[in-house]
């Protein structure tokens, strides 16, 4: 038992500030050092962490958490005050909390005693639990915050299984076992080195040659080889989806028929076989994973690959001969670029001529945020497992251009359904509501989905206990480092 584990990250985290969503690499490191009141556990369910237990009021407007006897890395106990301070920091309207918007329904935080925290909500929400379970909602000491909230260079302190040792810029972050972790016998490892491997081929080679023990973001083209071993094992999971977001401000993509036509026209298997080396699962409906609320087997095949139908829809929309458009993707990630190329060739078959716009990722993000595109390749997932993740993609409201939505898409009916779904506690009732959502969403198809892509980790044989968490949670798999053992 014990030992040092080398973890090949896909990038250097831009920050370790807990309330920022820094991407997978940053989350992985965060989850080694920090715990929230609750977190998503390896089974994909909400797992009580710093909160031993919690209750939700029947109207879903009051959440009460009972803290356990946990300690921070500096030895101080985890108290209600720390929780309050941590959450308040997220809620700061001028703060940079990534999920401030989602959590802003918290209208009050009460701390009746040191071990109890009560959250009051301005409106009922059942999705709150999911957001509290995110790595961005972890608890850090109030005293540390008071001193270091604005000091990005301070050594982080949390209540997680590992404590921060150092961060060698450009190279690695090292954490070591926190002996005072509240779970008995965990973690097993003495030390974890999170080494940054920006290049995917290098990362794979590092695993193969034994330089590292675990890597994230296994490129599709190497998955089979790593799966075969002999020294390596693949932890595979369907995680994110690939699709298209449309700028609905102007024609042709303001017309639902055009969007549907595209959904019919694209042969999913072309994308999977070319851009993803055959690994992936087609989506012919909405990207709701099986088992998640809103999933319906019958709607899962709403679209099919049907060129004639696509042409017909185009004709109906007034484009019998197709049209020209620009598709935004990014050359920085080959799967984005390749998806775009595959789509380009598929759409050519119904007369849609595409020019590809393939800038680097930063420019792509800037364009996405400005809504400066005709339509764009979307590769993403839901942050939480609760059905409310859909809001981020479909909700209209006051901010019509976001990273992940279809710009200027604002359907009152969908907005209403999403609001209702969030506030409904009864799950049978919710099931119905989201059923209605799916119908409407397919009808309007502001987003078109093509496939689930694999999100894989690979480990060297001898590494056990690391779990690629299911569905949307794959990006939070870093949580399982507390269970990880190395021979």
């Amino acid at each position: 038992a014990g030992g040092t584990l080398y973890f090949g990250l896909s990038a250097e985290p831009s920050t370790l500030d807990t309330i920022i969503q820094p991407g997978t690499a940053g989350r992985t490191v965060k989850l080694a050092m920090h715990r929230g009141l609750v977190n998503y556990g390896i089974d994909g369910k909400i797992s009580p962490e710093l909160a031993e237990s919690y209750e939700i009021s029947p109207d879903a407007k009051e959440y009460t958490f009972h803290l356990r006897d946990a300690k921070f890395h500096d030895g101080s106990p985890v108290t209600a005050a720390d929780v309050k301070a941590s959450l308040e920091r997220i809620l700061d309207p001028k703060g940079k909390g990534a999920f401030r918007n989602e959590l802003s329904i918290i209208s009050g935080i009460d701390t009746p005693d040191v071990k109890t925290v009560t959250l009051k909500l301005s409106q009922p929400s059942v999705s709150l639990m999911g957001y509290l379970a995110l790595p961005e909602s972890v608890i850090v000491p109030a005293a540390w915050l008071a001193k270091n909230a604005d000091n990005a260079t301070a050594s982080p302190i949390g209540a997680g299984p590992f404590q921060f040792v150092n961060w060698t810029r450009g190279r690695e972050i090292v954490v070591k076992k926190f002996p005072g972790y509240y779970k008995q016998g965990k973690p097993d490892l003495d030390e974890v080195h999170y080494v940054f491997y920006g290049d995917e081929n290098t990362r794979v080679n590092a695993l193969k040659s034994g330089d590292v023990d675990i890597i994230e973001y296994v490129p599709a083209k190497d998955a089979t080889a790593l799966e075969k071993g002999p020294d390596t094992k693949l932890l595979t999971m369907n995680g994110p989806f690939m699709g298209l977001q449309f700028n609905t401000k102007f024609e042709p993509f303001s017309k639902p028929e055009v969007r549907q036509a595209i959904a019919y026209a694209v042969d999913r298997s072309v994308i999977i076989n070319t851009a993803f080396n055959g690994l992936g699962t087609p989506i012919y409906g909405i990207a709701i994973p099986e088992g998640y609320m809103g999933y319906s087997a019958e709607k899962a095949n709403y679209f099919s690959h049907d060129i004639d139908k696509a042409k017909e829809l185009l004709k109906k929309a007034g484009y019998p001969n197709g049209f020209e458009a620009r598709l935004l993707a990014s050359s920085q990630y080959s799967f984005h670029q390749n998806t775009a190329i595959a789509i380009q060739s598929e759409l050519a078959k119904i007369g849609i001529k595409l020019t590809l716009d393939l800038p680097d990722w930063a420019s792509r993000m800037a364009k996405a945020n400005a809504g400066d595109y005709d339509f764009a390749v979307l590769g993403s997932l839901g942050e939480i497992t609760d059905a409310d993740w859909l809001s981020n993609y479909y909700y209209g409201g006051d901010k019509l251009v976001r990273t992940n939505n279809s710009p200027y898409f604002d359907d009152p009916q969908i907005n209403e359904i999403l609001d209702k779904g969030r506030a409904t506690v009864d799950s049978a009732e919710r099931e119905k509501i989201y059923g209605a959502f799916v119908d409407r969403a397919l009808e309007l198809s502001p987003l078109v989905f093509f496939m689930w892509r694999h999100q894989d980790y690979a480990v060297r044989t001898g590494v056990t206990g690391f779990t690629n968490m299911p569905g949307f949670l794959t990006f939070q798999s870093g949580f399982s480092i507390e269970n990880t053992k190395i021979e």
Binding site: S14, P93, A98, R171, V195, A362, S363, M365, A366
Partner: protein
């Protein structure tokens, strides 16, 4: 005394120009970064987050990005003038990043240049001496391979062979020399050889050409007439006369190695300046881009200065009398 002071004046003048050059570069970079599409705040706040306008504004303010460009520029310049390269957008001082990656880059660059020169010069000489013969053809072909096979592929092949198949050397990474010197040099070997092989080819080409130029001079004949060993004729006299183009290309390469080795650094996960620069650019981390480019430029200018000095050491005729 007088020489010393002229020397001081000459070098001083060149250093002063260097500062001006750095200023020009910094200014250019500054302008480019603002023209370039992309917003650092969006990237900083996380790719998947959907920051509220307030949060974005707050962040901008915190980073000073809300100020007019001119005042940001002047502020940066003011700090840079006193040696403060400012803070990276993630809060760490830029200088910390730079000092972390600079020695690694310099180490890799020197090792690569060493490999390149040790291989390139003899190959070039051999090709020149056997001009038009089989060996020349062979060496020309080999060095052409070196030029036309991208380093990245060369490196991948080396890793495949040396590291994955044979298991002789680690495939990637960096170990501090203080922690494990052996491992340190093991990890240096492959990237240095990869870079070196590519560069060796160009050095060989230039050496061949330059040697041929000198070999046909009359003085070579008189050296031989004195009974000098061919080795000495070639390696001392001809090479020294042929050195200037070779030194030029080595200097150019050394400069390029300061900021142009992204692919090799990525392939071997070598945490050098190029990687720093590219990451900084792709994150639109303005201060870091500024800092790394200014550092790279300073190195470049220094190298060029050395090369210029070397010219006059190598060829007395280039020495200029300055009034």
């Amino acid at each position: 005394m007088q020489t010393l002071s002229t020397f001081v004046i000459v070098v001083g003048a060149r250093l002063a120009t260097a500062l001006v050059q750095l200023w020009v570069i910094a200014t250019l970079v500054f302008s480019i970064m603002y023209i370039m599409p992309g917003d650092p705040v969006l990237l900083l706040l996380g790719p998947e987050s959907h920051p509220s306008p307030e949060a974005v504004a707050a962040m901008r303010q915190q980073l000073g990005l809300d100020q007019p460009v001119l005042s940001q520029y002047l502020k940066w310049l003011g700090n840079a003038a006193v040696g403060d390269l400012g803070k990276s957008l993630d809060g760490y001082p830029v200088i910390e990043y730079v000092t972390a990656s600079l020695p690694k880059t310099m180490e890799l660059a020197s090792a690569a240049i060493l490999v390149a020169a040790i291989m390139g010069v003899p190959v070039g000489i051999a090709a020149a001496l056997w001009r038009g013969r089989f060996l020349d053809g062979l060496l020309t072909s080999l060095s052409t391979l070196g030029i036309s096979v991208p380093v990245y592929i060369l490196g991948s092949l080396l890793i495949l062979l040396v590291s994955l198949k044979l298991g002789w050397l680690p495939s990637s990474g960096y170990t501090d020399i203080s922690r494990n010197a052996f491992l340190h040099f093991q990890k240096l070997t492959l990237p240095a050889v990869t870079l070196g092989l590519g560069l060796a080819a160009s050095i060989a080409r230039m050496t061949r050409s330059s040697m041929l130029e000198i070999l046909s001079r009359d003085f070579v004949r008189s050296l031989r007439a004195r009974g000098m060993r061919e080795r000495r004729v070639i390696w001392l006299h001809v090479l020294r006369n042929a050195a200037i183009p070779i030194v030029t290309i080595v200097g150019l390469q050394l400069g390029n190695l300061m900021g142009g080795t992204v692919l090799v650094e990525a392939l071997f996960n070598w945490p050098g300046l190029s990687t720093l620069l590219v990451t900084a650019v792709s994150n639109r981390n303005y201060p870091l881009v500024q800092g790394s480019i200014v550092t790279i430029a300073a190195l470049f200018i220094l190298i060029n200065l050395c090369v210029d000095i070397l010219y006059s050491l190598l060829d007395p005729r280039i020495r200029r009398k300055r009034a």
